[in-house]
């Protein structure tokens, strides 16, 4: 199968959907001629024109809110927020409007829209362009939260997100945009709420999200040389959450590491750890270990930023820790 990058895979999903459904429109900052800050919308202005690929003013609350209004009245907007950090200036539109309308109006009205954001440090962009607070959105009922780790998943999940009648937060990762992988040329979708076991193993379970999946796979491969077989589960969507796949794996291995890039306190890993403790604590042979970003802002200086990012070394340390218990 041909290989394309994660950014190209999302671009292809957008293009295929836009060809099939003229209600799909794109809005965002610098998504037209510039092609998006990470080139995810490159070439789409040329194919679909300025009526469907709209460069917006720097008015996140304005254009996210406008997308909510457009979605309520028959359109299917896909919105790019340049960095997840910038959702903070339009949080009312996301949390109080987009996420709540269907419920608050008693089922009257739907808001079929996708909000594309990206997470991840590692580009020397410091504290306001490097955050990974996708966990905020997992906390809010009414939103679906998607965290693809591969080009294949990115395309299939984006097509599913666009065709879904609910608001979806589509969480991309800056360090994955250039990663290549096999992607079918035809259209396909991946249902929400289906985690994928990316590597099977009997000794411990690593539940991972987004780029942490790749880092976990590297760590698992390395530790396999020492005779330890780690199972790596990629959640793929945080909401809905595939608890069943996680619980089945934990019941099999008896050890759990959760690897996610949001801050440790009240992060995604905290939630995964909590539900496993609630539902399967007697299957555990060791404490649960979380591998997360520390509870600090993202620093600029390269050695500090490197220390901030949870990586395969941190996962290896966690593996050795859970394996100390028999």
């Amino acid at each position: 199968m041909r290989e394309i990058t994660y950014a190209q895979a999302i671009n292809e999903a957008l293009r295929e959907c836009m060809r099939e459904d003229e209600r799909i429109i794109l809005l965002g900052e610098d998504i037209g001629k510039y092609g998006g800050i990470f080139q995810v919308t490159a070439g789409l202005l040329d194919e679909f024109g300025p009526k469907r690929v709209i460069d917006t003013p720097i008015s996140e609350a304005g254009f996210v809110g406008a997308s909510v209004g457009a979605a309520l009245t028959g359109m299917r907007p896909v919105v790019e927020i340049m960095f997840i950090d910038f959702t903070t200036v339009c949080m009312d539109m996301i949390i109080n409007q987009m996420a709540k309308m269907h419920y608050m109006f008693g089922g009257r009205g739907t808001v079929p829209m996708v909000l594309r954001v990206n997470i991840g440090a590692g580009r020397g962009a410091a504290a306001q362009h490097s955050q990974s607070f996708h966990n905020f959105f997992m906390h809010i009922p009414g939103l679906y939260v998607v965290v693809p780790s591969t080009p294949y998943d990115a395309k299939g999940l984006m097509i599913e997100a666009i065709n879904n009648d609910n608001p979806v937060i589509f969480v991309e990762h800056k360090k994955l945009y250039a990663e290549k992988g096999p992607v079918p040329e035809e259209s396909y979708s991946i249902p929400f709420g289906q985690a994928e076991i990316k590597r099977e193993g009997k000794d411990l379970t690593i539940v991972a999200t987004s780029a942490m999946t790749l880092r976990s796979l590297k760590a698992a491969q390395e530790i396999a040389g020492q005779g330890i077989e780690a199972e790596v589960i990629d959640l793929r969507t945080l909401t809905p959450l595939d608890k069943e796949t996680v619980l089945n794996s934990v019941k099999k291995t008896g050890r759990l590491i959760v690897a996610d890039e949001s801050h440790k306190t009240c992060g995604v890993a905290a939630e995964i750890s909590a539900f496993v403790a609630e539902e399967a604590i007697y299957y555990l042979n060791s404490p649960i270990v979380r591998v997360c970003s520390p509870d600090t802002p993202v620093p600029f200086s390269p050695p500090l930023e490197k220390a901030f990012i949870p990586d395969e070394q941190d996962i290896l340390t966690a593996i050795r820790r859970v394996m100390e218990y028999s």
């Binding site: 429109i25 209004g69 907007p77 608050m104 739907t110």
Partner: protein, 328 residues
């Protein structure tokens, strides 16, 4: 502008309908029969009525926390409204939204909104949508003087003017953002002048004169429908009740009794009634009959709400997502 006799009577009826509905809400609230919050529109009825009287059923509105008047003027059914205020399953939102979130997509009510300034971008989006879909629907966005200081006001006016969208921004300047007077929250007197910054048409109108509101709004609606872009209309008005039912002494902690009495003399319903009678368009008796008929409609709504069931507990978990009932 020549307005037909039927139209004038219909305008009068709508204003009275809003007033009677809310007077009943005030009464029920005082008796503890309505839970939660009620922000009444009493005194401002001319604005929603004047603007919505020239809208079609398929036009859109976005409304505010003080939204009963807007949705009644757009055609909402008092029975389902009252049931919603009572928290009953038969209400517009199955009792899950309450006073601040009444919506009916079938008649273009895109929802009242509990966040000051929250409806502005949504209105812009509805207008973008009708332009994209190639219809001639217009969107009216109601908001208050308080919301005109929110970033969403500026972002929305900019976007609407940039894309020449069919949206009419109707600012109900009732002189107070809750308790803070206009002179304490912004350095200008006429909010409509802010239209200039966005190369948009701006109008100031006496918001207690329903005919004046109707005329200004009709021109803006005509321009919007013809693809000539948005308008900002500022309606000067006053709420005759407190910020919400329960605001002590009609909000006299921050407003003088004299000021409230002065504005009572400008009551928009009495003004129109006097005009209709003095110009011999209708008799006093006819207006009295109309009022009695509407009182009956309001009482029917109260009876309907009282007789309606509360939502079953399972309803808590429904409508979180389309096509999936969230389990506990």
């Amino acid at each position: 502008m020549k307005i037909s006799k039927d139209k004038l009577i219909s305008i009068y009826s709508t204003m009275v309908k809003i007033r009677l509905f809310e007077e009943r809400v005030s009464d029920l609230y005082a008796k503890g029969l309505i839970p939660g919050l009620a922000h009444l529109y009493i005194g401002e009825e001319a604005i929603a009525t004047g603007v919505c009287s020239d809208l079609r059923e398929d036009d859109y509105i976005t409304s505010t926390h003080r939204g009963h008047g807007h949705v009644i003027a757009k055609g909402a059914d008092l029975k389902y409204m009252m049931a919603e205020l009572f928290g009953r399953k038969a209400g517009y939102c199955k009792g899950k939204g309450g006073s601040m979130h009444i919506a009916d997509m079938d008649i273009g009510i895109l929802g009242a909104n509990g966040i000051a300034g929250g409806g502005l971008p949504i209105a812009v989006g509805a207008a973008l949508s009708s332009k994209w879909r190639g219809t001639d629907q217009v969107t009216v966005c109601f908001f208050g003087d308080g919301a005109s200081n929110n970033g969403t006001f500026h972002e929305s006016l900019n976007l609407a003017s940039l894309h020449k969208l069919p949206v009419i921004f109707v600012c109900e300047n009732n002189l107070y953002g809750i308790s803070v007077s206009q002179q304490m929250h912004q350095p200008i007197k006429d909010i409509a002048i802010r239209a200039t910054s966005y190369d948009m048409h701006g109008d100031v109108v006496d918001g207690n004169d329903v005919i004046a509101v109707y005329e200004v709004a009709s021109r803006a609606i005509r321009r919007a429908r013809a693809g000539e872009g948005p308008t900002l209309i500022e309606c000067k008005t006053y709420r005759l009740r407190g910020h919400h039912e329960g605001d002590p002494n009609l909000g006299s902690r921050y407003r003088t009794k004299e000021e409230i009495e002065d504005w009572k003399k400008k009551d928009p319903i009495r003004r129109l009634a006097n005009r209709l009678i003095s110009e011999k368009i209708v008799t006093k008796k006819k207006l009295e009959t109309l009022r009695n008929q509407l009182l009956k409609v309001v009482e029917e709504a109260v009876d309907f709400a009282n007789g309606a069931e509360f939502p079953p507990i399972e309803e808590l978990y429904k409508d979180v997502y389309v096509g999936e009932d969230k389990k506990k």
